[in-house]
Symmetry: none
Subunit: 413 residues, 2 copies
Amino acid sequence: MQAVILSIGTELVSGLALDTHSAEISRALVALGIEVVRHETLDDDAAAVAAALRRAGDQVDLVVATGGLGPTLDDCTRDGIARAMGVPLEQDAAALAHLEAWAKARGRTAGGSNLVQTMLPRGGRTLPNPIGTALGIEASVGRARVFAMPGVPAEMRRMLAEQVLPRLEAGQGGRVTRVRTVRTFGLGESLVGEKLADLMARGRRPRVGTAVHHGMIDIHIYATGAPGEVDALLAADAATVRARLGTIVFGEGDDRMEHAVASLAASRRTTIALAESCTGGEIASRLVNVPGISDWLLEGVVAYSNESKVRTLGVPADLIARHGAVSEQVVRAMAEGVRARSGAAVAVAVTGIAGPGGGSPERPVGTVWVALADARGTVAALEVFTGDRKLIRDRAANYALNMVRLRLLEAEG
Amino acid sequence: MQAVILSIGTELVSGLALDTHSAEISRALVALGIEVVRHETLDDDAAAVAAALRRAGDQVDLVVATGGLGPTLDDCTRDGIARAMGVPLEQDAAALAHLEAWAKARGRTAGGSNLVQTMLPRGGRTLPNPIGTALGIEASVGRARVFAMPGVPAEMRRMLAEQVLPRLEAGQGGRVTRVRTVRTFGLGESLVGEKLADLMARGRRPRVGTAVHHGMIDIHIYATGAPGEVDALLAADAATVRARLGTIVFGEGDDRMEHAVASLAASRRTTIALAESCTGGEIASRLVNVPGISDWLLEGVVAYSNESKVRTLGVPADLIARHGAVSEQVVRAMAEGVRARSGAAVAVAVTGIAGPGGGSPERPVGTVWVALADARGTVAALEVFTGDRKLIRDRAANYALNMVRLRLLEAEG
């Protein structure tokens, strides 16, 4: 089966917003063995949407579209589908009931511009949206089955997973293409490449490739075939990659460094506390994003001012005066301070210069001290990261989380 | 002038890599007054490239393409252009000279697969690439002028800026299209749309549209014309939008809620402290991302455990026992506690249930209490957000930052 993906929105076609939905939907379709032949990003214009649908309806069996289902005048996907089908828009009873229930739950009455969202091309069907007012649409244009979903990311994701993919899975009974991704931190891409050179040779199946982002190296393994065969091939290669790369592997797939730390904290029953200066809550925020962390993350202090370092973390004021807030002495005192205050088993502290100001020849922007304190004592490390403020904070957070991860791994051995 | 942008690559169409070039090129074209009507992302397939070029050549005056100009077998943009033009590929003397010079500078000889890069559709011209082997191509298909550039970001950017845009500027005679974006928080899209209905009417110039993300509504205003005229039109509409929407407007362009808060904190010389439970450092992290915040953000406490709420924020333990950690009483005590500890003028606290676990019929997942304490006293608000854990935290952070923003705005009045 071949598919075209449409994303609809003036902000996308004019470059003000980045279309990430098409790539996400592509991955989901490719995983079902569907070949995606084209993405099109279109203006909020019913004629353009209708033309793209007709073009796709002449060529492929499936169109998945996002955007343009909102309540405002510039939302024209409903109209575009109707034009491509050559049918009128009609009010749908189920859509009206959905909108009325939605409004009632919020103490309002359904009406005004929201009523546009109850209109459906004749012959189309609605797709439920449990978390928003915009229902999806299923319809047919030419030989293509068309699914249109709202552009709001959470609504799109849920509708894709719960409505669209199950309908498509039913029709795909054979070959699948799957990707397995092993994620690493702490070794450069060329060194990773050398360790995996034979796996990455051109023409080898499964295909193995690397991709870098934010200082992490991902190893992607791709295989096509019958589901069971594919899974076995991927499992074998993933095991080889893991064995060759050792502790630099922190996870697979969508795992992030914080997932590895949270999972180790839970399995080791180890409590954690954080003292963040330049990362400013980034480490805490990432850990808190992992469900179930509440049993293990006791406390984080964003000690952004020197007063906060002294008052809340108990860093001696003269240590800051003598060595500066970005120094080994201060980062050690921060880690020990938050560990003592919180009673956590492991405490990590970060202080650095994220820029754009604050650098000096001895301590350039990007200079970051990280310390880890636990029952065995305190260790500290100095790194100089490149990039803008956000990237430096991001890399410092990864570095600090990795330090916790490696310490928790050691604690096992 | 109307344009279509093509990005060519299997990794893009299959969703393994994100196409960011099209958005970047769109912004550059739109700034020249060129209307981008469509992006298409295509597989590395000469027939698909040729079909897309012919489609665009029937409809628009300009095609800008990226990718598929490398030396490997899967690079087929040269072939696709030749097919669309109905001409053969021929070796280009200038391209051969470029490749030979490139190889010589690296102590190699030009040959092998790289020779593919010296082939040019008959009637086409090369675009110089000072930093790579892949030359660009300028050609004509139908009524469209076609520019094809390499997909390597640095090479694409340089060729766009030095070769493509100057050639287009010459033909544009001073007309530009500019976008101004007014950002709002706190009112639903349909209500915003009703307040701006006359501005958003189809066919009106400037064109006004809305886009929603993360509970925020952006109002985009687009105008085309001579630069001075366009700026005046945009300024007038932005002023109208601001006047109609009042304090829900928190910024323009790339402004985020935290920029508005940081800027108000600086102009009011107001210090801030944070006590975060379910947001877990997200608010601190966002504020810290704004350079210069260090003078105003005194401290943040990620009081994720009840012990931390009691020990660090001074919340009475019996208050948690009686009312639960997610309650008006506790959120008020958290805000007052961090304000007392830090000495900040304004303190904000958040406690809630981000899910997926922890909900109950009385306090479902998404229940969030926010409190703000300052010299005038403490106010608290209850919200129930929808979405997954990350979205609930994100929305709670926006809500809390907005509460600070509105209080700082009031402090002026």
